[in-house]
Structures are given as C-alpha cells and as structure tokens.
C-alpha cells in the first residue's frame, strides 16, 4: 500500500493577505513602542503601583459579586418566564424590558442617591403603621449600591441569554425526566439547565468581560476605588493620561485573558458527554451513532 502524499493546493493570495496583516501588526506595535507620547517609562512606574493593584482587586470584587447576583436573578427570571402564572411571566418581561432599556449609568446614579430620594427603608403594613425602619444610607453604602446596581442591570441581559439557552434544550429531555416522576423544578435544575449551559456560556463570557469594563461606571454611585477611577486619578495628578490608560488597559487585558481561560474550562465541563466525546478517537464499537436528539455541537475556545 502506497500512502497518498499529495502536494497541497497553493494559496498565494492567502499568504499575501497574511503577510499584510502581520506587517500592519508589526508596524502598529513598533509605532506604539517607539512613539514618545506613550511614555512607557511612566507606564512601568505605575503598572504595579499599590493603588493600581488595589484598584484591580476592587474591580474584580465588583465584577464577580455583581455577576453572581445577575446570574442568580437571571435564572429566576428565565424560570419565571416559563411559569404557568401569567403575572410571573409578565413581571419577568417588564424587568428585562426596564433594566435593558435604561442606561446602567442612570441606574447607578439612582442607587447612589437612593439614600437621598428615600432616606429611610420602612418595613410595615402598606398605608398602615411602620414596623421597622433603617437609615438607607447605612444599608446601601457605596459598595452595596455599586454591586446591586450593576447586578440588577446585568440580570436583564443574562435573563435573555438564559431564556434562549433553556429553549435550546430538546423537549424530549423534559418529557423523559417528568416521565421518571421528577418534579418540574428538579428537572430544570438537574436536566435542562446543565444542558443549556453549553449554549449559555459563550454569550455569558461576553457579558462577564463586558461587565469588567462596565464597573468603571460606578463613579456614578460614586464608588471611587475601581481600576478606572484610580488610574484616572493618577493621570490627573501626573497630567499623563496615555500611559495610565495603558496601565488600565493592560490590567483589563490580563483579567480578560484569565477569564477567557476560565471560560474554556467551564465550556469543557458543560460539554461533557457531548463535545468532548465527539473528539475522542472513536475506538468504541459500534461507531458512535450520534443520538438524533443530541444538542448541536459547539463552542470550544481556541
């Protein structure tokens, strides 16, 4: 048996295109590194500055905690959207409409000034006597306001993503689980949601990375410890905005890279039994006759 060792098709234009792209990238990097307006010395001075590192920490705290709130709310909203109770469906729709529809900056301003608009949180019978009351400003301090504001806003976007994800799971899965005597809520959590995750994760990765940058709007609250505020403040002091923007960009890029790696593993986890298996060398006889109701393949990073 003489193995075929054919000469591949030549794609000269591809290589020209590739060369042009490479050249542009090299020129861009070269012009960035040599352009004195970027003040790389200042960049080096501040990139590991203690304030900047603290800012990175706070940005991460805001991102993670608001995403956690958003994910919990989004799951709730997506489930409500499928509820039998029309009022729940309606509330979920209005929530998504309202929070997607208004600017997050305005929402953050609201949460920042909720203490002014409503000086006291009163627990009591509506239109009746009050039972308990708190000072709003104590309960909703800047950190809480920032996290709540970002979390509520994001929940609306994620709710749409989760809704689309849940609908992508084949109906047969729900029926099979119900036929086993599992209750609907359990079916959702253990059968539908884990399968929906494959479709949910890539856009959620987008949202998380977007959120990282959105945290810079918390100045509206005002919350003044995040990365953008800190680097802006340093820029004001030094009157050198470009290198300090580069510092911020550098850190955002680092966090994004870490998140992208994380996304890769999360995708792989929820792809188990579906994505990973397809790629394994098919040694198992008989040849994996793809389950006809199987989910679409998908979405591996890199």
């Amino acid at each position: 048996m003489e193995l075929i060792d054919a000469i591949p098709v030549r794609h000269p234009w591809r290589w020209v295109g590739a060369a042009v792209i490479l050249l542009v990238v090299i020129l861009a990097i070269q012009s960035m590194t040599t352009n004195p307006k970027f003040y790389w010395g200042t960049f080096r001075t501040y990139v590991f500055d203690v304030l900047v590192i603290q800012g990175v920490g706070w940005t991460l705290v805001l991102t993670v905690s608001s995403m956690v709130i958003a994910i919990v709310l989004a799951i709730l909203l997506a489930f409500m959207r499928q509820s039998d109770n029309p009022l729940f469906r309606y509330v979920s729709w209005v929530w998504v409409w309202f929070f997607r529809g208004t600017p997050v900056y305005t929402q953050l301003l609201f949460w920042g000034s909720v203490g002014v608009l409503y000086p006291k949180i009163i627990l009591g019978v509506p239109f009746g006597p009050e039972l308990l009351s708190w000072d709003t400003a104590t309960v909703i301090n800047a950190t809480v306001a920032a996290i709540v504001g970002l979390g509520l806003n994001e929940s609306a976007y994620l709710a749409e993503i989760f809704r689309a994800g849940l609908k992508s799971v084949d109906n047969g899965q729900m029926e099979a689980a119900e036929a086993l005597g599992m209750r609907r809520s359990k079916v959702m959590w253990r059968i539908i949601l884990p399968q929906a995750m494959r479709v949910i994760i890539p856009p959620t990765g987008n949202e998380t990375i977007g959120m990282l940058k959105t945290t810079s709007l918390v100045l509206a609250v005002p919350f003044t410890l995040d990365l953008t505020f800190v680097t802006n403040a340093l820029a004001s002091r030094t009157f050198l905005p470009i290198p300090l923007l580069m510092v911020a960009a550098f850190w955002y890029l680092v966090i994004t890279s870490v998140l992208m790696v994380g996304q890769y593993y999360v995708e792989r986890h929820f792809g188990k039994g579906v994505d990973n298996v397809m790629k394994a060398p098919v040694k198992v006889p008989p040849p994996a006759a793809a389950d006809p109701i199987m989910l679409p393949r998908g979405n591996n990073l890199a």
Partner: protein
C-alpha cells in the same frame, strides 16, 4: 377510585380473580379542533403484555402519553391500579392533581421513548441512578448497586461509564429501559422502542423486552414489530383513526384479521 356504578358493572364481566392494572374508559383527546382519540376503551391485567399497532397518526403515541400524563385527557377516565390518573374526584367533580401528586403517580409508570431521550450530559450509570436518588431519595451507593444490576440485565454492564453519545442506538435504548426500570414501576410503556434503530440493532432491544415480559412485568407496547407481538404479546390492539378497530389474541388476529383495515395494514408491515 372508580365510581361505584362502574366498578360493579365492569368488574362483573371479568373473571373476578384478576383485577385489571390499567383501565382506559371512553378516552377522547382533542388537539384544538383535531379529534385524535375518539373513545378508547382498554384494560390491561397485571403481568399482561399488551401490544398496540396501527398506522401513523392513528393516535397510539397520544394514548400512551395520556396514560403517563404527558397529555391531558379531553374526556374519559384512565385508572392505574384503581387510581384515577391526573385527577381527584370529590363529590362527582374532578380536581386537577398538583405537580407533586402527578409526579407520585408517574413513578408507578415507566416510559421508554422512540428517540431514547437519554440525558446526554450523564453517563449510562448516572442516567439510571438519577431518578432513584433524586426522586426516591435512595442513597447513591444503593442506587448504584441496583443500577449495575439493571445494566447487567440489559447486557451493558461494561458500558456503565460511557456517555450516550458513545453508545450505539440499540445500546442507548437499552439504557433507557434500565433507567425506567430503576424506579421499579408497576407498568412499563414502550412507544416504538425499536423504530429509530438500524435493523441489526433491533434484536438486542427486543430480547431485553422479551425477558422483561417473562419476568412478569405489565407492559403496553406500541410497535411495528409484528414478530414481537406474535411471540410475546398477550393481547394485540389495532388502532386506526383514533379508535380501536380490533383487539384480541395476537396470533389469531395476525393469522386471521377480521377487519379489512387490519388486513391492509398487516399486509404492509409484514
């Protein structure tokens, strides 16, 4: 509980020793204007294998789905083990059961679908122990032991840790049977369990079903496998256009169908 008048009338006509496990009485089903089941009556005794055949669209799947509460009835009653399915009857008025009660009723009934519907993100073993651990709250260890026994029974003990996508159609269907059996149902419903399989793989699944029948499981089987009906079936029901056209001993009906529609249908699938 069936109402009093019914119990006396129907029960008397049957040998008193065997109480039917499934009683289907005058079941109608509409999808919008579409009248799919037009008054189905049927009884299945404990340990009986009841085979349903009929052309596409005759309502066979719909009937099974009604028994398992995947569809709501438009009219009629279904009793499993003397329990009215889907409703509570109080002073002659029907009340919907709540989701918890429905789930409880379903546990007595296992169902195997044409398209298997295994959970793709769980291995064969995890598919089988899912319901016992989550619904019956069995310990994981106990459920696993039982599951391995069942997988052994369907000839798949060496495939316990494979994901559905790593199994052939026939193997997937056998896992689906094991999964339904793990809940120890009194009644098993099969909706064309072999029709999504390549001809070569059909045999394995039918073998498992035969053994199940021999072990005394009550089964309602919708199938196109006339051979299976002849060999294993206790009764054969031929449905067409939402009604039961003919019903009785499978060997007799297959050898000598009374109704011309039965004749025509058998000539096409045999």
């Amino acid at each position: 509980m069936p109402d009093a008048t019914h119990t006396s009338a129907e029960q008397a006509a049957q040998p008193v020793t065997v109480k039917p496990l499934v009683e289907i009485q005058g079941v109608h089903k509409f999808f919008g204007d579409h009248h799919v089941l037009k008054g189905i009556d049927m009884t299945v005794k404990p340990g009986e294998v009841s085979v349903i055949i009929g052309p596409s669209g005759s309502g066979k799947s719909t009937l099974l789905r009604c028994i398992n509460l995947l569809e709501t009835l438009s009219a009629g009653r279904i009793y499993v083990h003397n329990d009215l399915i889907g409703y509570r009857e109080v002073n002659g008025k029907l009340h919907d059961l709540n989701t918890k009660q429905i789930a409880t009723q379903r546990r007595e009934i296992g169902m195997v679908f044409q398209r298997f519907n295994l959970f793709p993100h769980k291995t064969a073993l995890q598919n089988v122990i899912e319901a016992p651990t989550q619904v019956k709250r069995q310990s994981k260890a106990a459920a696993k032991l039982k599951a391995l026994e069942l997988l052994e029974m369907v000839g798949l003990s060496d495939r316990a840790n494979f994901y559905p996508s790593q199994l052939s159609g026939g193997q997937q269907q056998r896992v689906a049977i094991a999964r339904a059996l793990a809940m120890e149902p009194e009644l098993m419903l099969f909706d064309e369990p072999t029709s999504a399989l390549d001809p070569e793989l059909v045999g394995d699944v039918l073998e498992v079903m035969k053994n199940l029948a021999k072990s005394g499981m009550t089964m309602i089987v919708v199938t196109h496998e006339i051979g299976f009906a002849r060999e294993v079936g206790d009764t054969l029901t031929f449905m067409d256009g939402g009604v039961v056209v003919e019903s009785g001993n499978p060997r007799e009906i297959i050898a000598n169908p009374q109704h011309h529609r039965t004749k025509e249908f058998l000539s096409r699938v045999l």
